[in-house]
Amino acid sequence: MARYDRAITVFSPDGHLFQVEYALEAVRKGNATVGVRGTDTIVLGVEKKSTPKLQDSRSVRKIVSLDTHIALACAGLKADARVLINRARIECQSHRLTVEDPVTVEYITRYIAGLQQKYTQSGGVRPFGLSTLIVGFDPYTGVPALYQTDPSGTFSAWKANATGRNSNSMREFLEKNYKETSGQETVKLAIRALLEVVESGGKNIEIAVMTKERGLRQLDEAEIDAIVAEIEAEKAAAEAAKKTPSKDT
């Protein structure tokens, strides 16, 4: 096995590209990230690992804008993310320049995934160690979209998804609890998924909400704390309701 992971252009006998799989390992160590698509709102959430006291947290932005109608969150190697995000931003503007139209979410996802794939089929380079969640509204139809890419270069569309640390638990939660939501309900669903694996509180999660009218808006700590409080109150109410035996069926 050890002989087949040096150069990633080499397949192993059982058809694995080990470097790509190791890159996925790097993603699994990255911070928990969740994305939920609503009917008129799309929410991205990322866990904020404890920031060192002296660090200016504003310089560590985990959810970024690629264009006025597209946003991206990722899990994995942050330095690799910077490079991919830069290329994507250039492509967004380049597309606008050449065809005088904004990119669709699918186009830019395909572009980023294509870039990630290129680095799995070249000599002397390693794959990008990150998976991305790309959200946005189609500039013509206004339909919201959520896509995921991974280090192998595959991409697909999702109603809700998670990546990074404990993504399986979050995805399980989303599969159990997903329903078509809009507005604040979408935000709550995303935060509830994130709270499954992250310590509760506004200073441990970063949430950004994208709407067609207002574009991407980062929620500040106070807002997140308020919604978390709401969620905990709802949870407590649900627990209490379960405990009382005198309920009509």
């Binding site: 804008s65 830069n86 931003r89 503007q93 380049s94 320049l97 005088e100």
Partner: protein, 204 residues
Amino acid sequence: MECVFGLVGDGFALVAADTSAVHSILVHKSNEDKVMLLDSHKLLGASGEAGDRAQFTEYIQKNVHLYEFRNGIPLTTAAVANFTRGELAVALRKNPYFVNILLAGYDKDVGPSLYYIDYIATLHKVDKGAFGYGSYFALSMMDRHYHSRMSLEEAINLVDKCIMEIRSRLVVAPPNFVIKIVDKDGAREYAWRESIKDAEVSAA
């Protein structure tokens, strides 16, 4: 013949441009918008070779947007002016762009400003400027009537005087003009001055 002119007033800057697209003796259209909104607080009025004008100004606009996405804050007017001049200068001795530009912008700390950038990459920060045959008349009118910190009303009056001169004294005077302003509330279209209306009312 194309004309673009502009001036700086009290807390605002404005750019006026003719709206004719001409090829030899044929007028393609008389509602061509030559003053581009670069970003929320910048105007780019351009005149010259039609293809170069569209290509170069759009290229500048996309690069200004890219900077804003990359860095989270917009470029200052001075920075955009210098970037634009740089691009013209580099292209000058390879494949020059024939575009003359008046860049107007509003920055919170500096206030309104106007930059004169001609096709051979001259850059000047000015209070008033003009390009084209119309500049002979516009500059003369502005020399006579302009004073610093004009109110919007006075400035529009002066612009109308310039347009009047151009219309009456230039043999191939463009019939229609567009006026755009930029102030602390952003860049926007102010008015059109039309003496020939096209059949369709909406502008391109």
